[in-house]
């Protein structure tokens, strides 16, 4: 393989890893703070992609579509938290797994009612539909750079929120001791709803920005969810930075696996997980706030 295509694959791997990070970050935040394993998290990714497609068509603009989509998913997150998820916080993981699996079936069926079972391509917005000349004979699609930039911006925003803001402080405290925060007079129920809807919208945003590359198709959440599980196992559950490291590792492993052994590319992710399990069964990063 020549150096140019290695570089391209490297960029693709990082971009895919960053995208996975958005989904995995929500998964790990919700687990770290509420202790809930959410199998339906991948569905939010799918919902994001379908929203981007349908809203962009309706509004006539990708950007307006995304803006409306983000608002809708935040509301969706709040509603789901209040109706379903808040009942799960103190329950055994077994029931969390089952209930959220049931939600997947519901989401998939509603998806087929609302949007049908076809694959829908999303058009890359005019502004970003170009290529960047990296070297003399190497170009890279502008849109993929945009995706990486969005993910990096959100990661920085997440970092600042957790480390610097009052909400972040409460989130960190809430992760360690939810009774304590209640004594301090913090409305922990509101915090839970906010954190949950942040998680939902992060996954949905990932689905939206990915949709021009991957299209929107049925069951697209499943593979992302399982990949994110592997990321969380590798990174250490509850740790946002573990999720970032895990996501980049998996993004690269998957991309290069695809290049070298396309038929078995699905395996590279699991091989990586097995190695980490032998070496460090609790993940690369233990929970950052404990």
């Amino acid at each position: 393989m020549e150096i140019n295509s290695i570089l391209i694959q490297l960029l693709n791997g990082i971009q895919y890893g960053l995208l996975l990070f958005l989904v995995a970050a929500g998964l790990t935040l919700v687990f770290g703070i509420m202790g809930v394993i959410n199998l339906a998290h991948g569905s939010f990714y799918m919902i994001g992609a379908y929203l981007a497609w349908s809203l962009a068509e309706l509004a006539g603009s990708f950007w307006v579509g995304i803006a409306i989509g983000i608002v809708l998913t935040i509301i969706l997150g709040m509603v789901l938290e209040v109706v379903f998820f808040k009942h799960l916080y103190r329950r055994d993981h077994l029931y969390q797994v089952l209930m959220t699996y049931g939600l997947i079936l519901i989401f998939e069926d509603l998806r087929s009612v609302l949007w049908g079972n076809d694959i829908h391509g999303v058009v890359i917005p005019e502004l970003l539909n170009s290529s960047i000349q990296l070297t003399e004979n190497l170009t890279y699609p502008m849109y993929r750079f945009f995706v990486s930039a969005v993910c990096i911006a959100i990661a920085i925003g997440l970092y600042l929120t957790i480390q610097r803001t009052r909400l972040g402080m409460i989130i960190r405290a809430g992760a360690t001791n939810s009774e304590m925060t209640q004594v301090l007079g913090v409305n922990i129920k509101l915090i839970h709803a906010v954190v949950f809807s942040i998680g939902v919208s992060l996954a949905a945003i990932a689905g939206m920005v990915a949709s021009p590359i991957s299209s929107a198709y049925p069951n697209m959440g499943t593979q992302v969810l399982i990949t994110c599980f592997v990321i969380v196992v590798i990174g250490g559950i509850g740790s946002v930075w573990g999720a970032l490291a895990g996501a980049l590792l998996i993004g690269l492993a998957d991309t290069f696996g695809n290049v070298f052994a396309p038929e078995y590319s699905g395996l590279s992710v699991f091989i990586l997980m097995s190695i980490i399990l032998i070496w460090r069964p609790e993940g690369l990063f233990k929970r950052s706030y404990k």
């Binding site: 993981h93 089952l98 209930m99 079936l105 519901i106 038929e263 078995y264 699905g266 997980m273 399990l277």
Partner: protein
């Protein structure tokens, strides 16, 4: 052991007799439906050993189901019947091997990690069969003739006959039920119970907890494989769906429905689940709404996990106490 004649024992005896006699009076469709229930009952019992008795929640149990099924298919020649003993023992050996390999890794983790890791390993098997040509890719493969159960040319059982097949799986269900019952009443079973409650204390008492868990995982995996093998030869067809996490989640649902930690409960849960699935996807009853069976199933699963954590049997026992 001495059996007392109680209403309960009488009911059980009548139920068993009726199940045994089912092929004598029921139509082919129902006999086959009940064969499926028996197979899923075996599958649910195997998972219940892990979830209900050792406290290990696996979301990858379908891996064994699918592996054994594919083994049955790949070892069946296209134009003649395969040898039952060969393909069956190969299928179970593969399951034992897979359980050992993944168990050693997955059991290094606990609770939610274990859930995710078992799911991930099952998904790995899913990808192998889905993305490669080994088992016909996403389309799956057919088994044209059921394996031949014969010793030196003498056919012992005609598995192609749907009635014989039913009785054969019924016998397996009873045998596996008895095996697990006995196992759970032994020292080994009691130690598993202790590990479920307090693993650390068991270690302090001198139990090699890891080996207990691994052995239970291997036993559960091989019984799951038995179910998968029979499922494959009953339908004459395997595809990646057999390994998918939907299959894993469904069998978990059966275990919950029947009430965890109860072997006959698992069989009961499997029958309720399969019958419900038949019912809500039945077009002649529900019309076009039947195409939304996954929506109904979704709501059903959500409702059970929120309101019936102890399953349907929990509902009955709570009702009778009131």
């Amino acid at each position: 052991m001495n059996f007392k004649i109680t209403t309960r024992n009488l009911l059980v005896a009548v139920l068993l007799l009726m199940l045994c006699a089912l092929p004598l009076f029921a139509e082919k469709f129902y006999v086959q439906l009940f064969s499926k229930i028996l197979i899923m009952g075996i599958f649910a019992m195997s998972l219940d050993l892990l979830v209900g008795y050792v406290g290990l929640v696996s979301l990858g149990h379908a891996a064994f189901f699918g592996l054994a099924g594919y083994c049955a298919a790949l070892l069946s020649p296209q134009y003649e019947a395969g040898n039952f003993f060969v393909s069956f023992s190969a299928a179970i050996s593969i399951c034992i091997l897979f359980a050992l390999l993944t168990g050693v890794l997955a059991l290094r983790t606990k609770s939610f990690y274990f859930i995710m890791v078992t799911l991930a390993f099952a998904q790995m098997i899913f990808f192998i069969f889905h993305d490669t040509k080994i088992g016909g890719g996403g389309d799956g493969i057919y088994i044209y003739q059921k394996p031949l159960l014969a010793i030196s040319g003498i056919t012992l059982l005609e598995l192609e006959n749907f009635k014989t097949f039913y009785w054969f799986t019924f016998g397996w269900l009873i045998a596996i039920y008895a095996f697990l019952r006995i196992l759970l009443q032994s020292h080994y079973g009691h130690a598993l119970g202790g590990i479920k409650v307090n693993e650390h204390r068991m270690r302090a008492l001198g139990y090699p907890v890891f080996w207990y868990k691994l052995s239970a995982y291997v036993i559960a995996g091989s019984i799951g494989g038995i179910a998968g093998y029979f499922n494959a030869i009953q339908f004459g067809f395997v595809n990646p769906e057999n390994i998918s996490w939907h299959t894993s989640a469904n069998v978990l649902m059966m275990v919950i429905l029947g009430g965890m930690g109860s072997l006959h409960g698992a069989v009961f849960g499997a029958s309720v689940f399969i019958l419900l699935q038949e019912l809500i996807s039945n077009e002649s009853m529900l019309g076009s709404f039947a195409s939304h069976w996954s929506l109904m199933m979704g709501f059903f699963i959500v409702a059970v996990s929120l309101f019936l954590p102890n399953g349907l049997t929990g509902l009955f026992s709570r009702g009778s106490k009131k």
